[in-house]
Symmetry: C2
Subunit: 439 residues, 2 copies
């Protein structure tokens, strides 16, 4: 079906006010005819940006409808980091065909980008940047910028080097425009915080956060500029990392797919959840053995059972609070593994304070509403204080220990801490009961 | 003590390679002499940026050491949104003195910014921007940019309007520089996603995330440009919002102060934690009443107690998984409150699947290791399936219900869900036991 001129005119008006992301979303639903017509109505530059946002299937479909010439134009417009993403998504034979259309000068660089490990700065960076000698004139810099490729984010700042090609600083494009000077020198900022290609993308995200950047240079081991990462890429990284943390805290194996909740099959959802549930269920059987161990005590003092859930929940909650705070402090670099003594002291103080407050309130409640005798009241409240202190200590120290052994401390901010604390709580409770109830 | 020339020279070299954030950190530790000397060595522009990053105490100290002229220069260099932050932090008499130094043209705008509610887009935005008529020439636009105030992030894109002053689009500074055209028309992007001053800053952050922006225009109710927010501000918002979510999930009352972990007093830490701990402890007493209710049953079948922790933990974990996933889906707008039926069906399916898998594995474990009789095995495993299904349903639906009543669904992803699930689990467990054990 060929679209009428009137339809095309309407489509053009519609495309004009839509964002690239919205157009990409529409492409997923539109007919192949409407898609190809739209892709021809968009400017080449916009189409390259929309293309990057499409799903692999639609990318494949579009490319097979394109003429050779159209494919070539698209590939040359697309930004280097986006092109790498696309090449990684497409089947190998299609990808190698596309690589033939890449500007021969850029091809080795693209090949290099394709080789960086996932979640590394190298896989995130763009190779579109402007680099100029420190001693250049403003006019020379402007000339280079005018002939540079890459999107607006890649020209936010340009980079300066010395004769050994080592990155020494950067200049804001806006300063260059506003400047009355002839030479660049006075505009150069020397407070560079470069990252290296092999570093984890999280390090780059931390720097954007800490220094509130818009762009960050990427250098090789010799300190020479090889690319840059920009704020738009970092938003994606931050989102991804925070989803990962929350997944771990909720006892979920992280899904790579990012399918919206309602569109996931219940089977893939169940798979995502079952591993932790099973692991924790089996860990929780230890608490069962503890209870079986003290079965005789429980048989004579059944009322003891009534306070088990309250003690376990309080311990779990107290431990989760501490492990979350310490995990966060570790990831913000407020706490290092060498600070373990500071964490220990802090959690001991907080545990003692909160434990005593809770025990006092609980004692009043037990006396007023449950009418338990003194020995029972003392058992429950002493167990509560000890549980809170121990949970806080474990919650504070286990993430530090995990970090020390190069494990993700967030695992300790998850449901694991509850299971660990539960077992210890029960043992303490029954020991204290044996003491106070004089058995 | 006056610093020697040699020391000053060294200081200047040191400042050159430090980032603004690092200099601000040093200011917190340095002597007042070294601070004032450094502030005079920095360019006015950099000092304005460093100043913004200082703590209120150091800001006050510095300002009281400054001459009238120096204060005036600082105030005029500082960007409007940063100035508003500073004015809000300082004592009222100091703030009103500073306001006198503000460019009279800008004063009403600053006053307006001071009036926006916390966490609104208005409180976040900067009033530094360039707005130009659609029909202008490139030369006119460049002239406006050359004479604009504000940092490089405020000139990343400039905005265009029609004669009624309504925002119609934007142009990238880089496109302007690279353009060979005489008129702006062909460079204008019309896919604007403006936000309004009274909106929550989270809406702006969502747009940056979704469309991977570097800057976002802010308009008034009539669609006229009043300011813009930039990626650097948004990093702070995202960080703040994610800290808030994690706090709620860990049962912490959020602290506004953002003091590093090791520097917080144990008393302020205890305060942050005690409210939820007490609330949850008191809620958990319901579980105690349930157990007391079935005391007779427990007395004759003490072994029932051994499986209470495992059931409670499994239910809590299953509920937390669902509530976290649904809360996340709600905040990403993958799920709306009207989708409650979809959530119900999904969680029912997942609950049934995971519940059966867990029950089967648990049954085998009970038979092999605990040597329990069939009735007991059936009791525990039936209770496990029912618990998992119910926890998944509650975990999935409670966040949707919270959202429906305009409450933060994250509360349901926190420890509250565990407490709710615990009570229900216990009632079901004892009911099922009564049935299978034939009492």
């Amino acid at each position: 079906m060929i679209l009428s001129n009137k339809t095309l005119k309407e489509l053009q008006e519609q495309l004009k006010v839509l964002s690239n992301q919205d157009i990409a979303n529409h492409f997923e639903d539109w007919s192949p005819e409407k898609r190809i017509a739209s892709s021809r109505l968009l400017t080449k530059d916009r189409m390259a940006n929309v293309f990057h946002l499409l799903s692999p299937t639609i990318k494949k479909d579009l490319l097979s409808d394109y003429t050779q010439e159209e494919t070539k134009e698209l590939i040359q417009q697309i930004e280097s980091d986006d092109l790498v993403d696309t090449l990684q998504e497409l089947p190998a034979n299609m990808a190698s065909k596309l690589l033939n259309f890449v500007d021969p000068v850029k091809r080795p660089l693209i090949n290099q980008l394709l080789g960086y490990p996932e979640e590394s700065v190298g896989s995130l960076m763009s190779i579109d940047y402007v680099l100029i000698h420190e001693d250049s004139t403003v006019a020379e810099a402007l000339y280079k910028i005018q002939h540079a490729s890459g999107g607006p984010e890649h020209l936010y700042q340009i980079y300066v080097m010395q004769s050994d090609r080592k990155l020494t600083g950067y200049i804001y494009l806006s300063d260059l425009i506003q400047s009355q000077e002839e030479m660049l020198t006075s505009m150069i900022h020397y407070d560079i915080q470069p990252v290296q290609t092999h570093m984890d993308q999280e390090i780059a995200a931390d720097l954007f956060n800490k220094y509130q950047l818009h762009a960050l240079p990427v250098v090789d081991l010799e300190g020479r500029l090889v690319g840059q990462t920009t704020a738009d890429d970092i938003f994606r990284v931050i989102h991804q990392e925070s989803e990962e943390d929350i997944s771990i805290m909720a006892g979920l194996t992280s899904d790579q797919e990012n399918t919206p909740y309602l569109e996931q099959s219940f089977w893939s959802m169940a798979k995502q959840r079952i591993a932790w549930l099973l692991f924790l269920m089996i860990s929780a059987t230890f608490t069962g053995y503890v209870i079986q161990e003290y079965e005789a005590l429980l048989a004579t003092h059944v009322v003891l059972a009534a306070y088990i859930p309250m003690l376990m929940d309080s311990g779990g909650n107290a431990g989760t609070q501490s492990s979350t705070l310490v995990t966060r402090a570790l990831s913000n670099h407020e706490v290092e593994t060498t600070d373990w003594k500071g964490v220990l002291v802090k959690e001991l103080q907080v545990g003692l304070t909160t434990g005593i407050v809770m025990a006092v309130i609980n004692f009043i409640r037990l006396a007023l509403f449950d009418h338990v005798d003194l020995a029972m009241g003392l058992t429950v409240c002493t167990a509560l204080i000890v549980t809170i202190i121990l949970s806080k200590l474990l919650g504070g120290l286990l993430p530090v220990i995990a970090e020390y052994f190069n494990q993700d401390p967030a695992v300790m901010a998850g449901p694991l801490i509850t299971t660990i604390v539960d077992t210890i709580t029960l043992i303490l409770y029954f020991q204290i009961a044996t003491f106070f109830l004089g058995i």
